[in-house]
């Protein structure tokens, strides 16, 4: 089915209606997506959402259920192929460095298994260690228990890359290292992805990490792909309330659609009436839920709402100082809290005029309403 041209230019990975159950538990339900050649692709979701199972299906540690769809790598169906027949590399969550082998032998392991000529091995090991910026002279002979977490991480990466895989799978590899090093590694991984041209498939539960590194993200929820898109698409245009909540923060407003008013629709909610842009799901009488990002909202005096903006009145419950931002939390009439992020322009010189207990309104533009398609 796959012509040679497909395998050279087609997607690196295709999941077609893939399902996987463990007994009665459905870990992955009927998921379909593609991973493009050379891209940095993230599987993002909370624990138990099916992201690790998806990665393991791709690695070949798990097979799809019978009639559970197909997994293709470079156009070839790999459902029944063993991990070592898939041209993949993998970095494990706990690194899975062989504790009884030196750094050098860990990295050479795959080369020996693939019967690479002995004379070639030392050179390739050195190149792989240099690629992940580990000092060869200092570390090659060390045992894993003499390495820090970050160094082990690099050894795991070198061990996977030394085989020049077409696809590198990474299972939450940065979870166990400290914040500063993690930020550094994020940028390094992204740079490696671009310079080597290897497709990276990255599993994480950390939305910030996914946004930082990925070309595209598949947000997974409850064994399905909830949304797939670039970081900007996912953040700025979340399709379900799960995505809106899981990636960044969101304020939610529920209401009933009243009527179309020119290019916009009028909606009556619990706290206020508001207008939303046109959307195929809207018709009079339908229930609608919208999400608005805190930084797209403003706080103003109840009587000073700019014309043309949606607004809801309430009371300031708290003002939280975050450094570059201030979070103003306003309790609306129905008791729900709405968070508004305001840029900090210097509280010592130009303090916010709001304090706890003040009456205030939150205001936002109609076009900043994200209409959610919840089941």
């Amino acid at each position: 089915m796959a012509s040679p041209i497909d395998s050279a230019t087609g997607p690196a990975v295709e999941f077609t209606r893939v399902s996987k159950s463990f007994g009665d538990f459905k870990a992955v339900k009927d998921i379909t997506f593609e991973i493009r050649r050379g891209e940095f692709f993230s599987l993002l979701g909370p624990s138990g959402c099916g992201k690790t199972t998806t990665l393991r299906l791709l690695a070949g540690f798990e097979q799809p259920d019978e009639d559970g769809g197909t997994v293709r790598i470079s156009g070839q169906v790999v459902n029944q192929k063993r991990p070592y027949e898939r041209q993949i590399g993998m970095v494990f969550q706990n690194y899975a460095i062989f504790p009884h082998l030196s750094v050098e032998k860990n990295v050479a392991f795959g080369l020996v298994q693939h019967k690479v000529p002995k004379a070639e091995i030392p050179d390739r090991v050195v190149k792989a260690l240099e690629m992940v910026r580990l000092d060869v002279g200092k570390f090659a002979q060390r045992m894993p228990n003499q390495l820090s977490g970050g160094q082990r991480q690099r050894v795991a990466l070198a061990r996977a890359l030394v085989l020049r895989p077409a696809i590198l799978l990474l299972d939450e590899p940065l979870g166990a290292i400290d914040l500063k090093l993690r930020k550094e590694m994020q940028l390094e991984l992204k740079a490696l992805n671009k310079s080597l041209g290897i497709t990276f498939v990255y599993v994480t539960h950390d939305q910030e990490e996914a946004l930082t590194m990925s070309d595209r993200i598949a947000v997974m929820d409850n064994a399905r792909v909830a949304q797939l898109g670039s970081p900007a698409e996912i953040y700025e245009n979340p399709r379900t309330s799960f995505v809106a909540k899981f990636i960044g923060e969101s304020n939610f407003f529920d209401g009933t659609v009243e009527r179309k008013d020119g290019a916009v629709w009028r909606v009556t909610g619990a706290n206020c009436s508001f207008v939303v842009p046109d959307h195929p799901a809207l018709r009079p009488g339908a229930a609608v839920r919208i999400a608005v990002r805190p930084e797209w909202m403003d706080v103003c005096a109840t009587r000073e709402v700019p014309s043309g903006e949606n607004a809801a009145g309430g009371t300031v419950r708290d003002v939280i100082y975050l450094g570059e931002m201030m979070h103003v939390i306003v309790t609306l009439r129905d008791g729900t809290d709405c968070t508004v992020a305001v840029r900090n322009e210097g509280q010592l010189i130009k303090p916010l005029p709001w304090k706890r207990g003040d009456a205030a309104a939150v205001a936002w533009l109609p076009e900043d309403c994200q209409i959610l398609e919840d089941e």
Binding site: A59, F61, R82, P83, Y84, I88, G89, M90, F92, Q93, N94, A96, F98, P99, H100, L101, F109, G110, Q113, H114, M143, N145, R159, A160, L163
Partner: protein
Amino acid sequence: MASLRQRALAFFHARPAAKAWALLTPGTFWLVLFFTVPVLIMFVYSLMPRGIYGGVVPGFTVEHYQRFFNPLYLEILNRTFLWSLAATLICLLMGYPLAYLIARSGTWKNVLMFLVVLPFWTSFLVRTFAMIFLMRDTGLINNLLLRTGLIQQPIEMLYTPFAVMTGLVYGFLPFMVLPIYASLEKLDLSLLEAAEVLGARPASRFWKVTFPLSVPGVVAGCLLVFIPSLGSFLTSDLLGGAKQVMIGNLIQNQFSSARNWPFGSAASFIVMALVLVAVLAYLRVRDRAPAGTA
């Protein structure tokens, strides 16, 4: 009372050294009284002349040690050594796969480990007697084989090296399984997955990852089988009869019927010295190859 308890706790909290001594005392006391002292007594006895009616008389002699280097005794020592080695090897070959399967059997592993240690609930003596009933000419095995017509004459099993070896392996197999199981059970399975992605087929995953990481358990198991095998006397006495004497029987005999305590003590010390050499050799090998690089 409470205040006394509190004062005692405060006292030990303030003096960690006193706490360490207090915790060590019962065990140390026990070992000194029932191990160190008897060993010292035996050492002294082994260097004293034998009394005419048993026991020892004052004096100093090394004749008991010299006496041991006699072809008869050296043959017993040699046989004991080889049999212990063979029992250790057989236990390893049987115990490793068993421990491996149990470690991989998920929710069943606790039940299976319980079954492995279950024989300890009955006395070793009783279990060894049971083996006599299995292996003697009119025993269960021979009876079954005769009835099915597979053999016409009973196979002579009891009082042969085969019987002793069977008894040793049976008795010490759990000591091989337990430490190997412990090292396999804690093996991180993602190491095997990592090896698989890197191209390792099942056999090389075993020999390059699983086995090297279980070497500490294998070595511990071998020591736990080899050392007690060297000193065993019950198995060879009951299953080997008069022909299959091991060094343990020789020593036991000196202390009971032969009433030659100094010679028994000297023989004990020679065996102890051999065990010590074996353990030290193992420790050197282990320290030279950290984390079990076999």
